[in-house]
């Protein structure tokens, strides 16, 4: 199912949870809403689910107005961070709930319900837990049951609110791979909310980065990581080196000296240079038009090492990644130039 969200705004008192959000969700894709807490991602999910209503704007499911329908009428499967399983019902009854509450005419027979639930239990690989109660299950098992319950109604859309947020690291990794596989099997349009960039990058077809009630960027994980459109996205996703620079005649100056990189068409004025720690090249020879600084610390194991460099007169310390083969010592002077970087003019 295709979802169109147009100019959706939602305020809680003076706080703008969503500020004219526009988004198209493609049929069958797995989309991640990624952002820090308070960015509006959960509010957006709740609006799509029908648990909250926007102050303005439109939500269309395949061109149909979804806002005219209640949560129950939208046929949306919902999975919560804290599972929200019915604590007084067995696993079996939890999954069967969506079928049992249907109006009599649309309700499947007891045998059909039984078969459907068994099939779903098989799908989430927890068939032997049918008679247990939620509090007898581990977090990972609970979340899989919650997913089976959401799938029982044959949802047109699956919404997951921080589905792995309450699980420990190992289970989380397992479960997100499992979700990825399940989605590629079923192809039901799915949206999940997360504040964990690694999770969004690993699981989603496309990532929506949100901040302060606005969408900052929509794109494939690779794209969002490699070509961040705004300073926020660059800073929020992956590690960033940020340098306050000045652009003059298409050259970039740091602390009053050119550093030998092109301004990429940025207008003259104050700007911020963003680069990834592994995109800093260590120059072999001293060069006056480069960044230079003293090595303050070297740490890390594995193929790359992390080096702390205190730049020039301002004592700005940046962390760069250098190959293990590169020999350097604390106190040594390094000459650096970003191989890949982005310039964002400062807003003031």
């Amino acid at each position: 199912m295709k979802i169109s969200i147009a100019d959706v705004s939602k305020r809680f008192g003076a706080f703008a949870a969503l500020d004219r959000v526009n988004l198209e969700v493609r049929s069958g894709e797995l989309l991640a809403l990624l952002g820090p807490s308070g960015s509006g991602k959960t509010t957006l999910l709740r609006i799509i689910a029908g648990l909250d209503w926007p102050d303005e704007g439109q939500v269309l499911f395949d061109g149909e107005d979804a806002l005219a329908r209640s949560a129950g009428e939208r046929h949306v499967g919902l999975v919560f961070q804290h599972y929200a399983l019915f604590r007084h019902m067995t696993v079996f009854e939890n999954i069967a709930f969506g079928l049992r509450v249907r109006p009599r005419r649309a309700r499947p027979s007891e045998a059909e319900i039984r078969a459907r639930v068994q099939k779903l239990l098989g799908l989430v690989q927890l068939g032997w837990l049918a008679d247990r109660y939620p509090n007898q299950l581990s977090g990972g098992q609970r979340q899989r049951i919650a997913l089976a319950r959401a799938l029982a109604i044959g949802p047109r859309l699956l919404l997951l609110d921080e589905p792995f947020g309450a699980l420990d690291a190992k289970v989380r990794k397992e479960l997100r791979r499992w979700l990825r596989d399940l989605h590629s099997e079923m192809h039901v349009t799915s949206i999940f909310v997360t504040h964990d960039q690694e999770e969004a990058m690993e699981v989603a077809d496309r990532v929506v980065v949100m901040d302060k009630g606005r969408i900052e960027q929509v794109g494939m994980p690779q794209q969002v990581y490699e070509q961040p459109r705004t300073p926020f996205v660059h800073e929020f996703i992956g590690e960033s080196i940020m340098l306050p620079v000045v652009v003059l005649n298409n050259t970039v100056h740091f602390e009053g000296r050119p550093i030998g990189v092109d301004a990429q068409g940025a207008p003259d004025g104050v700007a911020t240079l963003f680069a990834r720690p592994f995109n800093m090249t260590i120059l072999r020879d001293a060069a006056s038009d480069s960044l230079h600084g003293e090595v303050r610390g070297i740490h890390g194991i594995g193929p790359a090492r992390r080096i702390d460099v205190a730049l020039g007169g301002t004592q700005t310390v940046i962390e760069i990644d250098a190959p293990r083969s590169h020999n350097c010592a604390i106190g040594q002077l390094l000459y650096l130039r970003p191989a890949q970087y982005q310039l964002f003019p400062s807003e003031f």
Partner: protein
């Protein structure tokens, strides 16, 4: 129960109980240096001397005996002082039967009213944010801090002959004061915090996610309430009902003010006890009192069972 868990880690060598017995004495070497400073025997900070323990327990037991067991025993012996026949004769007296009926009726009305009001109010407090919420919470506790006599007087002031609505009620032949409606109202007033107080913390803790899940699965509001909300709060609700019922049947002050003390008509059991006692019908008074005492014991047992259930949930 607790002691089993505490002693379990001490099972270092189950074959030699003597060792485990000497275990509580920690590191003798260190002890000897302390013993030089401390006079005579060692003092374990976690354990009081036997005579202290004995006195504390004895005081508690004596107090319970004096203030709970003795009066209860007294009620029962007085009730049966003139034999079993007299006891049952007193209980089957028409006026007493009327008092029992009235008490059950008033308690039933107030339980139903408080369940409905309690669930609605607890729902509102626990699951919504609205202005005036704190005031509502404070007001719900009011009956606990107001003297029941004043609660009764309020209703007299409202519905009595000289009250605000007295004239209108008289003109329309509606009898509230000195009749069942006022008794029920006064009972509801003094008991209404019980159910709400049990439900609010539980419902706050449970949140609204299960209800939201149910709604998104296609359940209607009513279905969600009966299949999800109610089962989640049923033990707490029953607990509140029990406390409410016990108080409703035992209420004296508020009911006394609005009852009018008409024998066989507006006397509840506690009022009947007073009336009989004042009329020197001591055995009959204690017979009715013994019913109230038995009710209290049953309530206590049910309360313990419910608390165990609540603990398990």
């Amino acid at each position: 129960m607790c002691s089993v868990q505490v002693t379990a880690p001490m099972k270092i060598n189950p074959k030699a109980p003597g060792i485990s017995a000497s275990l509580p004495a920690p590191i003798p070497a260190q002890l000897s240096t302390q013993a030089a400073a401390a006079p005579r025997h060692r003092v374990d900070a976690r354990e009081d001397a036997p005579w202290v323990r004995f006195i504390v327990v004895a005081v508690a037991v004596a107090f319970m005996g004096l203030f709970v067991v003795l009066p209860l025993a007294c009620v029962m012996t007085e009730a049966f002082a003139k034999g079993v026949a007299a006891y049952f004769a007193a209980l089957t007296d028409p006026d007493t039967l009327a008092a029992i009926t009235l008490t059950l009726l008033a308690a039933a009305i107030s339980v139903v009213a408080n369940v409905v009001f309690g669930v609605i109010a607890a729902w509102a407090i626990a699951k919504f944010d609205f202005s005036g919420k704190n005031l509502l919470i404070a007001l719900i506790e009011l009956p606990f801090s107001v003297s029941p006599v004043i609660a009764g007087l309020v209703f007299v002031l409202l519905f009595g002959l000289q009250g605000y609505f007295g004239g209108w009620l008289l003109a329309h032949h509606v009898k509230i004061i000195f009749a069942l409606p006022a008794i029920a109202l006064a009972t509801i007033f003094v008991t209404f915090p019980f159910v709400v107080r049990e439900l609010v913390p539980l419902m706050q803790e449970q949140g609204t996610e299960e209800e939201e899940a149910a709604l998104s699965l296609g359940a209607s509001g009513l279905t969600t309430f009966f299949r999800v909300t109610l089962p989640n709060i049923k033990w707490a609700l029953l607990y509140g009902v029990l406390l409410c019922n016990a108080r409703a049947m035992g209420e004296f002050g508020a009911v006394s003010v609005v009852s009018g003390h008409i024998r066989g008509q507006t006397l509840t059991m506690p009022l009947q006890v007073e009336t009989l006692y004042d009329g020197y019908q001591i055995t009959a008074a204690f017979a009715v009192a013994s019913l109230l005492a038995q009710l209290a014991i049953v309530s206590l047992i049910v309360k313990v069972v419910l608390e165990a259930r609540l603990e398990r949930d």
